[in-house]
Symmetry: C2
């Protein structure tokens, strides 16, 4: 009756595997290096490929690995800090905000956004598509929903769609007096279109940042930005969104 309960709660194989791999990544691999393929790794650890994949999945989720079909599994660089919020309120598109407008269409927003905008069911709004690139990598895709009432003077002479139209909508937005804004962050999975733009597979984990812009006592625009969860760390610095620089002197408010 050996009551040697040394492991009364045995941890799952994939969990232990993840730990082992994680330590190996720290000590024996460098950023960008490619790992042995999954079949070899599974054999080396004496587990089924599915089990090995469960461990890799977690490591990828934590931003330690990057897997690409047809290529292989590589050691990922540390997550990049992406400045998302600053204390001061600004309209999207103001004084280069790291986003690039790529397109603009007119469409009915999803139900959740329509609720914020207080538009009628099925009412169409300007939908600006923007993308964000940092360190040479696409990190986020955004859809900005702007009701026609927020940009009343939008000229019809501009193109009805496309990047030029997008810039026109953003320009008109600046004319409004931005009173307030608020943000929410939650976990989501990439829709097919966003996944393609972010060079990920559909369903990849993403951080969804929803921003509401208030003007004239109502919600004048809503932005839904989708960030790659594996490669991004969203920073909400009050100090203007500067990167991790230990610079205690600057800007003590």
């Amino acid at each position: 009756m050996g009551t040697t309960q040394l492991e009364s709660v045995p941890e799952p194989k994939y969990w232990h595997l993840k730990t082992v791999l994680s330590e190996a990544l720290d000590s024996e691999f460098s950023v960008g290096e490619i790992l042995p393929n999954e079949r070899d790794l599974a054999a080396r650890f004496g587990v089924a490929r599915a089990t090995l994949r469960q461990a890799l999945e977690q490591l990828e989720l934590e931003g330690r690995l990057q897997r690409r079909r047809g290529v292989g599994t590589t050691v990922a660089p540390p997550r990049v800090g992406v400045a998302v919020g600053s204390a001061q309120h600004t309209w999207p598109g103001a004084a280069d905000d790291a986003w690039q407008a790529t397109d603009c269409t007119v469409a009915a927003p999803p139900a959740s956004v329509a609720g914020f905008l207080e538009t009628a069911h099925g009412e169409q709004v300007h939908t600006v598509r923007r993308s964000r690139v940092t360190h040479g990598q696409q990190v986020a895709a955004e859809l900005l929903y702007v009701p026609a009432s927020s940009v009343p003077d939008l000229s019809a002479i501009d193109a009805p769609s496309g990047a030029a139209r997008a810039r026109a909508v953003l320009r008109e937005l600046q004319r409004l007096d931005l009173e307030n804004q608020d943000r929410a962050v939650e976990l989501g999975s990439a829709r097919a279109d966003d996944a393609k733009e972010l060079d990920r597979l559909p369903g990849a984990p993403v951080l969804v940042v929803t921003t509401r812009f208030f003007a004239e006592g109502r919600t004048a625009a809503v932005s839904v930005a989708t960030y790659r969860a594996d490669t991004c760390r969203l920073t909400f610095g009050d100090s203007g969104g500067v990167e991790i620089h230990h610079d205690p002197e600057r800007r003590a408010s």
Copy 2:
């Protein structure tokens, strides 16, 4: 338009399954209701259980479902909005901040935190454990790292550990002049201890909020808060506590 090439690019079964289930959740199920078990569901859709599970996994990630071993799969309520950042800077533990201190130990922080604190390698710091409950549910677990130098007057007469000690550390922190703070949010997977506290399995997806508190020209404390990613939507409202009203109601017409 005509991008309806359904046949040329067949979507994965689990993806289609997820869509079907998602629609079924909207129309045929109400919050809290339990779904048929996985074996039945898989049979009903004519797929292997593993495939069905892949779809359920995504839905759980998106906060639509909640799965509990030994119990079943239930329809999850909408995510709760959890206020994380306010514009004004405050020390943790100030004027009820929704957190409850449960314990305090002295230990060496993880390497990443030690880097922020600029402490020597292996140097021990006060480690306060706190938990956050909203709507009757535990939503977050936090570890707050406070170097001894930040609380010089901490009395030795207080208990060396435990909740009382934790409150003492927080109280001493208030005496410092908080100059600045910044936050970062990233995706992570729950460590075993946090998972247990959050009533999740180890490795469950979590949103990790790292906050640095600056005082006296240096980093006086670092907080690492772990939020359940499936049930939480982190809000960073500057506005006076206007809660986002998620409206799941929608009538198809």
